[in-house]
């Protein structure tokens, strides 16, 4: 994908290896935004449609899957993370990871309560 780039610094370092905290600045084009916009709308439609079909346990899984997909592209392009420094990618990762810790470890308690004491 070709998009114009403004180099505010001399170092050409797209993988930001030498300085993981810095990424050169990209401008996402309206065209890309439109693609993303379309996709988001499309998948909203899909998620509603699927909800009316009985797929037993698969329903919530699909719904969440779609939501996660939408969130991902939203974060990557609307929020420019695709072009951000590794630092910011990691930060976001940590956020979601910790949310998962909260959910899984607490749920672990509730689920295993039913097992009683061996």
């Amino acid at each position: 994908m070709a998009h114009e780039t403004i180099h505010t610094d001399g170092t050409q370092d797209p993988m930001n290896v030498t300085n993981p905290e810095h990424a050169q600045r990209h401008i996402v084009t309206p065209l890309q935004y439109t693609y993303v916009f379309g996709t988001l709308l499309l998948f909203t439609g899909i998620t509603i449609g699927v909800a009316y079909i009985d797929l037993k346990w698969a329903n919530p899984v699909i719904a969440l899957g779609i939501a996660c997909f939408q969130a991902t592209i939203g974060i990557l392009f609307f929020m420019h993370v695709a072009y951000q420094s590794r630092l910011i990618k990691i930060t976001i990762g940590v956020g979601f990871f910790l949310f998962l810790v909260l959910v899984t470890m607490t749920m672990g308690d509730y689920v295993s309560r039913a097992w009683g004491m061996w």
């Binding site: 909203t44 939203g74 609307f78 630092l87 949310f99």
Partner: protein, 262 residues
């Protein structure tokens, strides 16, 4: 220049503008206007990246904030699935779907706004910001309508919460399995979570709209038409984050079980 932060940079580096202290103080007190460069940053690049990094950290705290409620939802949905299914079927998918579309659109406008700022088009920026605001308001309007309906049905959790619609749906012309009384009581928990989560989301929207007015005015003044994008960009992050929260809320709250099992 940016190597000021590079772990390897050893080159000495005089501060770009060593103010006399008095002016330094003023530089600190005046609003982030042109020259947007704050004296305590080495470079403008450094300032921009610090800004967006800070914004992201803030959004991470938001994740944890909503996380608590998402977990409560997960727990009670597993405990009282029938109640959740029945209650969720009382929410209007058309309205919810429309709202989702509206919010996505407003997000799209915001994104265009960021682009407009990047390429320094003042008029376009103002227009997109206004559109963003309008879509945001539309969302709130529809939300208000939904809340109002719930209010009239006595589905607001609390003392005058009324479960009769779930115990005896037929009487209300609803084609749903009736819930046993004790399970019907649990719909209250669903509605609480519904109001808490969407309410918290709405609060964030309202704050966002407040900021939008301010930004629009400043954009109109031309603050962001000279390469100074940070405020627009960071607000964009906030706005998109709200959208994304909604993208989860919508299926979780509206679409639990739309195919009554027979």
């Amino acid at each position: 220049m940016d190597n000021a932060l590079a772990s390897t940079g050893l080159t000495t580096q005089p501060a770009p503008d060593p103010h006399p202290h008095e002016t330094a103080v003023h530089a600190e007190h005046e609003h982030v206007a042109l020259p947007q460069h704050r004296h305590h940053f080495e470079t403008e690049e450094q300032q921009r990246e610090a800004g967006s990094f800070g914004m992201w950290l803030f959004l991470v705290t938001e994740i944890m904030f909503f996380g608590g409620m998402f977990f409560a939802y997960l727990l009670y949905r597993n405990w009282y699935y029938p109640a959740f299914a029945a209650a969720s079927s009382q929410l209007s998918v058309p309205l919810g779907g429309t709202n989702t579309a509206i919010l996505i659109t407003s997000g799209f406008c915001m994104a265009l706004g960021v682009w407009a700022a990047e390429v320094r088009r003042r008029k376009m920026l103002v227009v997109t910001l206004i559109l963003t605001t309008l879509f945001g308001l539309a969302f709130l309007g529809i939300k208000y309508d939904e809340y109002h309906e719930k209010y009239e049905l006595h589905h607001i959790p609390g003392n005058n919460f009324n479960v009769s619609q779930f115990v005896n749906p037929a009487a209300y012309g609803i084609k749903e399995e009736p819930l046993a009384p004790d399970m019907a009581q649990k719909t209250q928990i669903f509605f609480f979570l519904y109001f808490a989560m969407t309410g918290m989301h709405a609060v964030h929207l309202i704050i966002g709209i407040g900021l939008l007015f301010w930004l629009t005015w400043r954009a109109h003044r031309g603050d962001f038409s000279s390469g100074y994008v940070a405020p627009i960009e960071n607000f964009g992050l906030y706005w998109h984050f709200i959208d994304i929260v909604w993208l989860f809320l919508f299926p979780l709250l509206y679409l639990i079980n739309r195919h009554p099992l027979h």
